[in-house]
């Protein structure tokens, strides 16, 4: 099937304005008759729930955390982009649009990305009005910093914890609506199924993580804002509870999964220290503003970094990409780190490169560096025991973000009417690689400024409150979820959930990681189903389903990863080109740069679930570029 993204026609700059005029409205008195279910309370979910509640809709909000204030958006450090051009350095909506399309290696929709760039400015205004304490200069004006993939300073920040401040801003707006009775919150509640009635999304089935009770909720529409899926690699910068489960269960009920092979590997994370490792910690990309990345010019150089003279250091990013230098985009910086380490120049365990602040400290003073990045240096010291003011940090790439996600059209609606997908959970705006400080922008754009318009268009066409939880579809859904829970508990094997997750992560990292080939992907497609079979034969989950059982929660998520990982590998095998975060070793230039195949792969790959044990079906949404000419993505 050829999918239609339903992008509006007309000039790029007018598309969103014209489209908003065409969308149907729900009148204020009727809004209270509709109920919308929102899954996830990170930036996208909280901002959507708050905004829709302000408009008068009834919201049921669900999160697995103990409070809606803890979505993993909270961990974003560096900042949020906007095309304000406060710095007078040449920024514009068009430039942010262009940088994002190029950063995504020409695999995103022009219309979506242009809208994102337009809305970016409203987001900053909104956050300031909510009391988000962005950094300011002595005159009281907002400050900006630079991020990867851009030659302007357009990133707004609140120390090294911008995500936290934006999320708490959205959470405060959300809390105001809880107080007003417009939002009902369901914390410690995990979505385990989507309920589809007559082809439209009309409810969800959840497990109360404290009581173990499985129950269903009906609504007039469902919004999924459940985040990304890179924990399929086991070790990533995501929270331990982040999972593909909500999205995957929706996929199994008919929602298409788009571009799952587009995963982002972040270049600046603290290297793995041992098998006990439970997560990887990101050191913000903003560090690359003042830190210089290097490795020794001699292989296996065991000298401590300060004993290696300047002319025996290879500042490989500055050498290879003189115009962007240490601020080359994430995928390029990550691959460059892997290349130097694979070639034997890595430091520490051999899986690491230096991120050195000595030059900046000499130029700006330690106090300035401390003011900019103090909390990151402290975190580095707590984890590694090393002082980065005295010696360079060691960093290595780690899984960080998923550009792929459930397929949505321009209205953020999936192929299932009534199912809307926001934030990292959808695939829409970042193409094959996301630029730094753009995830926060997208999450809030979707929640504050897109969904309020587009969901009304759907709701205006349906009768509110038509579906109740006593219908067959809901009974079937509850029975199915209960069945899976009981099946997991009944296996009673010998291996822990964590052991399976580690093994899956190992397969994913080795065969479907930073460098993928037909051979490695074929291997993954053999190993993953075998591991899945073993899981259902040999996993051990103590306790019962009737109370707080964290092993059971993890088991459900890992069971989904064992299915989803296969789809990711299949998508990577299908995409026989290199683009952005997806690097196929068969398609590279002599000096290791990605080579796209625009003739055959300028499309979104949207996969339809084929049923248990059956191959998924591929649908294509062709991408057309009317305003930007497809070019080789160069940062040299």
């Amino acid at each position: 099937m050829i999918l239609d993204g339903k992008c509006p026609s007309g000039p790029l700059a007018d598309k969103w304005d014209n489209h908003r005029q065409d969308l149907k409205l729900v009148n204020p008195a009727n809004k209270r008759k509709y109920t919308i279910l929102v899954v996830g309370t990170g930036l996208a979910g909280a901002s959507a729930a708050a905004t829709l509640a302000e408009l008068g809709y009834n919201i049921e909000a669900f999160c697995y955390q103990d409070t809606p204030r803890r979505g993993h958006s909270i961990a974003a450090h560096g900042g949020i982009n906007a095309a304000k051009n406060y710095q007078n350095d040449g920024d514009s909506i068009y430039r942010l649009f262009y940088d994002t399309i190029k950063g995504g290696d020409f695999r995103a929709r022009e219309a979506n990305v242009y809208r994102l760039a337009q809305i970016s400015n409203n987001i900053i205004d909104q956050c300031v009005a909510q009391g988000v304490p962005f950094a300011r200069d002595y005159a009281g004006y907002l400050q900006n910093r630079s991020f990867g993939g851009a030659q302007v300073s357009r990133t707004f920040f609140a120390r090294g914890q911008t995500g936290q401040q934006l999320l708490l801003g959205a959470y405060r707006a959300f809390s105001r609506q809880v107080h007003a009775g417009q939002i009902r919150v369901h914390p410690r509640t995990e979505m385990l199924d989507l309920v589809v009635v007559d082809g439209e999304a009309k409810g969800i089935t959840v497990r109360d993580l404290v009581s173990g009770e499985i129950r269903s909720y009906a609504g007039d529409a469902v919004i999924l804002a459940s985040g990304g899926y890179v924990n399929v690699y086991n070790l990533s910068t995501n929270a331990t509870g982040s999972s593909v489960t909500a999205a995957w269960r929706a996929h199994k009920k008919g929602a298409f999964f788009a571009n799952p092979c587009y995963t982002q590997i972040h270049p600046t994370c603290i290297p793995v220290s041992g098998d006990h490792q439970s997560k990887l910690t990101l050191m913000s990309e903003s560090l690359r503003n003042d830190g210089r990345i290097w490795v020794p010019k001699n292989k296996n150089d065991q000298r401590p970094p300060h004993q290696i003279p300047e002319d025996e250091r290879d500042y490989y990013l500055e050498r290879k990409y003189p115009s962007f230098g240490n601020l080359a985009p994430r995928d390029i910086a990550s691959r460059a780190a892997k290349q130097v380490c694979d070639a034997g120049y890595g430091v520490g365990s051999g899986r690491g490169v230096y991120l050195d602040f000595a030059a900046s400290i000499e130029r700006l003073g330690e106090d300035t560096i401390r003011a900019r990045y103090g909390n990151l240096f402290d975190m580095y010291q707590r984890i590694t025991g090393e002082d980065a003011y005295q010696q360079p940090m060691r960093i290595y790439p780690a899984l960080h973000y998923s550009m792929g996600g459930l397929w949505v059209d321009y209205n953020l609606q999936s192929n299932l009417p009534g199912l809307f997908v926001l934030g990292e959970a959808n695939f829409s705006d970042h193409g094959a690689n996301r630029l730094g400080a753009s995830a926060l922008m997208q999450g809030l754009a979707d929640g504050y400024f897109v969904i309020p318009y587009t969901i009304a268009n759907y709701l205006a066409g349906i009768t509110p409150g038509k579906v109740r939880t006593n219908s067959d579809e809901f009974r079937d859904s509850t029975a199915q979820v209960e069945g899976m829970t009981n099946k997991l508990l009944a296996v009673n094997g010998r291996k822990t959930v964590n052991e399976f997750h580690r093994e899956l992560g190992h397969i994913m990292w080795e065969e479907v990681g930073m460098a993928r080939s037909e051979a490695s992907l074929t291997t993954a497609l053999e190993k993953i189903p075998a591991l899945r079979e073993e899981f259902w034969d040999n996993v051990r989950i103590p306790g019962s389903g009737n109370d707080l059982n964290q092993e059971l929660e993890k088991a459900g998520r890992v069971a989904d990863y064992l299915e989803f990982g296969e789809l990711l590998a299949r998508d990577a095998l299908n995409r026989d080109e290199s683009c952005g975060g997806h690097f196929r070793v068969e398609h590279q230039t002599e000096d290791g740069e990605a080579v796209r195949d625009d003739e055959n792969f300028t499309y979104v790959a949207a996969w339809e679930y084929g049923g248990s044990g059956k191959a998924p079906q591929l649908h294509k949404e062709p991408l057309s570029f009317e305003n930007i000419e497809l070019a080789v993505r160069s940062y040299k």
Binding site: R70, R136, R540
Partner: protein, 254 residues
């Protein structure tokens, strides 16, 4: 290194609960405290026993989920460090470690080390926001904010809402938490119009939810993983005094 753990186990809110002994063997100094517990739990699962239940999520010290009292100190012995960021190099071979949940009247135990902190959400819901709806706001630079005020607001805004301040306080007070929220918004021009209503409403809710009051022990500041200063409690008190005559006429003369 090898360690002996004494861990609070409690099946549910109605169970009395008790400390149980576990051995943690071959612990690497590079492990985080939670990774050490992960390994103990894997062993328990392999033996078919129920693992120790504890809250955790981001494991990078920002989400505020993790919450354990270690050897009597919320978040353990290292200053300005959450449990998830605490690493085992802070301990030595042969150590005995006591691990308990947050203990406060407002935080009932759910299971083992997991407590219910939703009372903190109810404090925010009662007024911890600026009543602005999405859209129709001025340009972000239209209202200038002096750097000193923005920085002070940010100092307060660092609060991760973990509740260590409550667990550390002999009165089970949430004063440091409330003061951080109140001060952040009171320092910003956008937050001024509602400042009086906000401070009264939030402090009233704090007391309604079963938190105690402040009697200047400063244990909260010592336990806070983000180093939130008790000066914000002074700021809260000033805001409260300023608000009383506006909201409760006559209250100052009583």
């Amino acid at each position: 290194m090898n360690l002996t753990l004494h861990v609070w186990r409690q099946k549910g809110p109605n169970d009395k609960g008790r400390l149980e002994r576990y051995q943690a063997k071959d612990v690497s100094p590079d492990m985080s405290f939670l990774e050490m517990l992960d390994e103990v739990n894997e062993q328990l699962v392999k033996e078919g026993r129920e693992p120790i239940v504890f809250d955790h999520d981001c494991r990078e010290g920002i989400c505020g989920t993790c919450s354990q009292v270690i050897n009597g100190q919320p978040h353990g012995p290292q200053a300005e460090t959450t449990v998830c960021q605490l690493h085992m190099r802070q301990f030595k071979d042969g150590d005995e470690i006591y691990i308990e949940p947050w203990r406060a009247r407002a935080f009932p135990v759910i299971k083992d080390l997991v407590v219910d902190r939703s009372a903190m959400d109810r404090i925010i819901e009662s007024g911890g926001y600026i009543s602005v709806s999405t859209g129709g706001v001025p340009d972000a630079n239209a209202i200038l904010i002096p750097k000193a005020d923005a920085d002070t607001a940010m100092d307060a805004a660092e609060c991760i809402g973990c509740g260590a301040c409550v667990a550390a306080c002999p009165n089970g007070s949430a004063m440091l938490f409330v003061s951080a929220q109140v001060s952040q918004l009171a320092k910003l021009p956008q937050g001024r119009p509602e400042a009086a209503r906000r401070v009264c409403s939030m402090t009233d809710t704090m007391l309604d939810q079963g938190f105690g009051n402040c009697s200047n022990h400063y244990e909260c500041e010592a336990a806070c993983p983000k180093g939130i200063s008790v000066k914000f409690i002074a700021m809260l008190n000033r805001e409260y005094l300023k608000a009383l005559p506006k909201l409760k006429p006559g209250s100052m003369s009583n």
